[in-house]
Every structure is written in C-alpha cells, then in structure tokens.
C-alpha cells in the first residue's frame, strides 16, 4: 500500500480501534462480579477483557496521534478517487473472489447438498475469471469443458476422500 494511503488507513483504523477498545471496556465493566456468591472480586470475568479493551484503546490512541502527525486525516475522498477505486482491475478481482466465496460458504452450504454446492462454486469461480464475455461461446468450448471437468472432479473427489477415506463430516 502506498505510504500516503497507509497513513489514511491508519487514521481510520485508529479511530475504529479506540471505539472498539472503549466498547469492550464498558462491556467488561458491566459484567457481574458474583459478589453475592462470596467470590473473590479479583476473579471477576470482566477483569482481563477490561484490561485488554483499555490497552487496545490506548494503542489505538497512539496510532491516532501518529497518523495525525503524518497528516493522515486528509482522506481525499471525492467522486474521482472513489470511482477509480471501484473500477480498478484489482478491486474487481478482489470483490468477485470474496463475494462468490462467501455466497458458497455461507449461503449455498447447508441448503444445497455438499457435492452440488461445491461443483457450482468451482464452476462459477473458474468461469467468472476465465470466460471472456465479449467472445462468442462457441470459440470457448475448451475453457467451458475444462471448467466443468475440474468442478465435477473436485466435488466428487473431495466428497469421496473426506467422507469415506478420512471419515470426516462434510457441511450440508
């Protein structure tokens, strides 16, 4: 990440960290001390999380001061930079990878039987990255064929090996 982007990221992250640390501290203070049970107050559940929350907030504060010193608050968010960010090749690849993987892991699995879900995921993943939408489908039959082969064999092999050879339970 570029240096200027890093200080901006640090600025935003430090604010999140401070907020997070303070939230944890407040939640820890609300935890019961079980005093009514006659238990030693120093064994209360809130002690260590409170200590950690305070420490995280403190470290966040140090980061905040440092990033302000390096002028990280100049976020430079305007229409142009946002558009540049969202149309960059890297962002696109990143988003596709995350979205499709999350859909598979959290939505498909559990609702669709495992081999089918896995096959769909692998097929979709390969096609999204390798299939050229502008070219006609007929010229890309090899890509399609290989994608299907890989998807089906992955689904079958993983299911067979894990379920029957290693006796491990599979999701869905």
């Amino acid at each position: 990440m570029k240096e200027s982007n890093m200080t901006r990221a640090d600025f935003v992250t430090s604010i999140i960290l401070i907020a997070f640390g303070v939230a944890v501290l407040i939640m820890s203070l609300h935890m019961p001390t079980f005093a009514a049970r006659g238990v030693n107050p120093y064994s209360a559940p809130g002690i260590v999380p409170g200590f950690l929350g305070a420490l995280i907030a403190l470290l966040g504060l140090v980061l905040f001061i440092r990033s302000v010193g390096r002028k990280g608050y100049r976020l430079g968010i305007n229409g142009r930079t946002v558009k540049e960010f969202f149309t960059a090749q890297q962002t696109l690849r990143l988003t596709i990878t995350i979205v499709i993987s999350v859909l598979y892991a959290l939505v498909l699995l559990g609702r669709v039987p495992y081999p089918i879900a896995t096959g769909i995921y692998v097929l979709a993943f390969i096609l999204l990255f390798e299939y050229k939408w502008k070219s006609p489908a007929r010229s890309q039959w090899k890509t399609l064929l290989f994608a299907v082969i890989v998807a089906v064999s992955t689904a079958v092999l993983v299911t067979a090996v894990f379920q029957y050879l290693f006796l491990v339970s599979l999701p869905g």
Binding site: M1, M6, A9, D10, T13, L17, M31, P32, F34, V39, N40, P41, Y42, S43, A44, P45, I47, V48, P49, F51, L52, G53, L55, I56, L59, G60, V62, L63, R66, Q89, Q90, R93, L94, I96, T97, I98, S101, V102, Y104, A105, L106, L109, G110, T118, V122, F125, I126, F129, E130, F146, A147, V150, T154, V158, F162, F166, V168, S169, L170, P171
Partner: protein
Amino acid sequence: MLEGLHYFAEGLIGFLNFKTLFNVLWATQLGIIVGMLPGLTATMGVALMTTLTFKLDASNAVLILVCMYIGAIYGGSRSAILLNIPGTPANAATAVDGHPLAKQGRAGRAIGIATTGSFIGSFIGMIMLALFTPLIGAFALKFESFEYTWLAIFGIIISGNLTAPKDPLKGWISGFLGLFVAMIGMESIHAFVRFSFGTVGLSGGVALIPAMVGAFGFAEIISVMRHPKFEVVNTKIERVIPSFRDIRVHLKTIVRSGIVGTFIGAVPGVGEDVAAWVSYDMARRSSKDGDKFGTGVVEGLIAAETGNNACVAGAMIPVLSLAIPGSAPAAVLLAAMLIHGVRPGPLIMVEFPDFVFKVVAMVLLASVAMLILGLSLVRLLVKVLLVPRTKLMPIIFTLCVVGSFAIQSRFFDIGVMVIFGVLGFYLREMEYPMAPLVLGIILGGILDQNLRRALVLSDGSILPFFTRPISAVLFLIIAFTMVSRTRWFLRLKAQASNSVRSLLGRSRR
C-alpha cells in the same frame, strides 16, 4: 540424558514399519507440494492435515503433521527459486539468491543446495529440540500464575516486535486483538459467557483452526487472486544432487544458520520467515562476498534455507515444554496435539516423557524423507507449478471450508473462517502481521486464567508481579523490548556508540 536416548530409540524403532514409513513419504511429499504452490502456506497445510488425521491415533497423526510442516517449509524454496515467488513466506529470503541462480541456468544446483541446507538445518534443530525441551520443561515447573501472565504478554510483545520490524505498534495491536478474540465465549473460572450477544455460536468461542485457516488460507487466496497473472520462467534443470565441496566450504554458515534458526523458532510467535531473513542477513554481514548477495550467491541461499528449516524444530521446543507455539504452523500443531489428547506443557516430561523424544524421531524421519524426495522427481514436480491459479484457488477454498467445519461440525466455524479471511486480508494489506494475532488467540486463555489467579493469590496487589525473581526478569525483558523501539532510546543508543567509538579512537593513538 540416557533416558532420552532410550525413548528416542524406542520411538524411532516403533515408527520403522511399512505403514508408518508410507505415511511419512506421502505426507512429506504432499507437504512439499503444498509449500511449492503459492496460495497454500505451511500453516494451511498443517491445519488441513489436522482435519484429515482427526480419526487417527495421536502418534500417527502428529507424525503426519510434522512431515507436512517440514515438507511445506522446504517446498516453498522450489517456487522461490524457479518463479521468484516464495511458496510460503518462509522462503522469501530463498528467492533473493535462489532465483538469480536459476536465471543463470543453475536451477538444479540451487535446488540441490536448498534441499541439503534444509536437511542439515532440520537436523541441527532436531538435536537442539532433544536437548532443550526437557531443560525448559524442568525450568517452567517453577512458573506460577505471575510468571505465566508475564509469559503470555511477553509472547505478544516480542512476536509483535519481530514480525513487524518497521512498525512494532501494529504487531502489538495485532497481538492484543488476538488476546481479545480468546475472551469470547465461556470463561473458565465462573463459566460466565462473555461477548456472545445472545448467539449460540459465539458462546462456544472462536475456535483456533477455523480462525487460522481463514487468516492464512482464505486471506491468501484473496491476495493471490487480486494480482494479475505471474509468468513461469522456463529454465532447464540439470544436475540436482549437490557437490560435497559446496557443503564443506559453507559449513560455518550452515551451522550458524541452523543454530540461529532454531533459536528464533523457540521464540514464541516468531516463525520461519524471520528465521530465514536473520540467517540470511547474518551470512551477508560476515561473508567476504557480502555485497554480491542478491546476484546468486550460494552462501545466501544456503543460509536462508538452513535457517527456516531449523526453525521448524525450534518452534516445537516451546510447544512441547510450555504449550506456547513458536510459530504459526507450530500453533496448529499444538492445537492438534490437544485435540488428540496429548497435553504439552511443563508437565509433559512428567506425564508423557516418551512423547517428547517420539517427536524428535518424527523430525528425523521427516527430514530424511524431505532430503530423499527433494532430490528426486524434481522435473516432474515443476509441472505442478504450471496449474493456473483460477483453477487452483477455488479448490483450495473448498478445502478451507471442509477444514474449518470438520473438527466441531459447526457451520459457525465456517463463518469464523470467512470473517477471519476477509479481516486477515485487510489487516495484512495495512501491514498488521498475522502471527501475533494467532499467538494472541492461543495465549488469551493462559493470560485470562493466570492474571486472575495471580490477583486472587496476591489479594489484588500487583507487587509480586514485579518482585518475584522470574517475574521481574520477564517484566524487564518486556520493558526493554518495548522501549528499544522508541526514537528516544535509539537516539540514546546512537549517542552512546558515538562516544564509545571516540573513546576507543583516542586510546588507540
């Protein structure tokens, strides 16, 4: 001492049957392939194997994991040399002199040297593992709650310091966030559920292996897919088996890298990548060809590969003697041991003394297998590197999902994996190291129990934390480590060295 040798021999002979040796071979080979492929790290490999070996008995399971670990750390050197892309972060230093050697047409020689260096490093680490584990275990029996509290914090601080050398603050933040993650769920003294927000999933806590698979597996996949395609350099591979001369000439470098690598492995949370870089750097500074490093100097290559493999055995020293991982893959190894009912920690020398030396035997077997497999089938395995990542990454993600789900059969764990994957990716982009985060998740439980117990014992006084001898030493080391990175201290150091230099200069005249 003799007892140890006895256990070692017993363990080794116990492993010398066809089925076990077959396991050693395929596990090490798979480890080499895992290490070779960018996108799969040693941590991921060991985590996935933990899942696969879930139903096996403890000894066999840990043996397979050790083989996978050693194979993977070595395997990354293959892609580092041939593609200039380290297969695992531990092999980044290998690429610096390994790839230029490949471009000069000496890829085979580079691979042979890397293999031999890795084997010798592993061997040195193994000897130190056998020697130091019982010693440290015996010493750690003196630890009480106060010392364990400091040890947990020390692990985070030093890990943060060494894995984020440019910015230790981020390493510490990473570590303390990890410690916090361990607080989620039911705490062990009053069975009170913390930070669950009413959900059943969070009440069970964040399991280590899904978090690691996410942070090291899914995050890596996202990272790999983000960048445009890389090119495979098609180099001819000639003779792979190294000449004796190469080894003899660099013997001092090899031994030094081995010892340094083991030592760095033994430091909690500081892993093979740091070990490789430090060994490489030390070799560069003390070599007469120092300024030629980076152009294909054999000494640099051998230092890096010896260092990172020695680190593997070194990382197992704290795992066995303190139940604190020396590196990220060692953290998974620790979790696996706990799953299989082996209890590492100071008591291991009392409860399972033979297990420690069985692990030493495992390291030996894995290293020999790595040497044999590494020097053979080289040309065949290079083909594996040609698999396009658009096909490989979804397959790896599938394995990530299975690996996260299999151990507790919870869909929540898959969610944990996904969240830690995305989080881990962005944290890494912002240069927050992952190792302290993972270390924090493991040490969090230790910190929680021991800090509270210590406070109960001292009745709220924090004085014993600073006055007990071992505690005082640990505190001073922590304080020194934190202070040594501030600008104030560095200025002081510069002034001091200047005055010393001028003093010496004057006295010499």
